[in-house]
Subunit: 149 residues, 2 copies
Amino acid sequence: MNVEDIIKTEKEIPLKSRTLIHFLLVNNTITEALSTALKPYGVSLQQFNVLRILRGQNEKPASLATLNERMVTKMSNTTRLVDKLLLKGYVERKVCPSNRRKVEIRITKEGLLILEKMDISMSEAEDDVLQNLSDQEMEQLNILFNKFE
Amino acid sequence: MNVEDIIKTEKEIPLKSRTLIHFLLVNNTITEALSTALKPYGVSLQQFNVLRILRGQNEKPASLATLNERMVTKMSNTTRLVDKLLLKGYVERKVCPSNRRKVEIRITKEGLLILEKMDISMSEAEDDVLQNLSDQEMEQLNILFNKFE
DNA sequence: CCTATACATTTGTATATACAACAGTTGTAT
DNA sequence: ATACAACTGTTGTATATACAAATGTATAGG
């Protein structure tokens, strides 16, 4: 599959632009595949990310600042993102007793249960998107990605 | 710079997940750099993309369907995107005389002028983001990107 | 012609995200 | 103690995007 074909242009694109456009195109493919995998569960990629961070805390609560720090895509409004997980019953939120400015966010039992199911779907989606890449090629990508700033 | 450090996790991430997370992180870097370059002009990446497509038409008008087909990131609502460019005076829109369902969209003189300036800023942003990559490395990326589906 | 269907775009509505102003809490220096 | 600045999160508002229903137009079949 050819970049020029996808965006339907006759001219040849300069290498730098071509690389970046290609990057954005693949990004669309990836995010679409991952969000589609999450759709049945009614959560967004960002919400999934937060649930995973919370599970990684092993019972220790996380503050909003902690969540934001660890999210793959930082966002300006983690409050409302957590609100949505609250509504679904996947997390709980309390005021931190030792510092009442902070909040303590934990994943609930329901959250853990649904997250296990999501993991399976996500893993399938990952396999799907990456099915044509060998381990070596992925390693190579990771090395090249490190050169971006 | 290390993925595990960026998202602040102690555990090692499996290769597939790591590659995709890394991809999303680099995508954030790229889109931020490009949008920042466009910020002074008050247009989004998508709007910039439309202006470039229109310039590529060489006076020939484009319909909404044509624009959508050629955009890097397809979107569900090109009408309103064009509305914004209209407001800024960068494009004009008429009903197509031969088929009144269609619209004919053209870039204006002002649009062409501002687009030339944007090109310079965008080119700088591209150079900046890609400064640590050789031509060969970019070629390699393009080859690897072709393996995604 | 008349009707049904497909087409191209627009509009309504819900949801998502960005950014800045705000409010309450804490720590520190006088 | 008091005042002030820094910290943490919340809220308001504008803008962006997704999805589906609605509008107006063209085309094909009887």
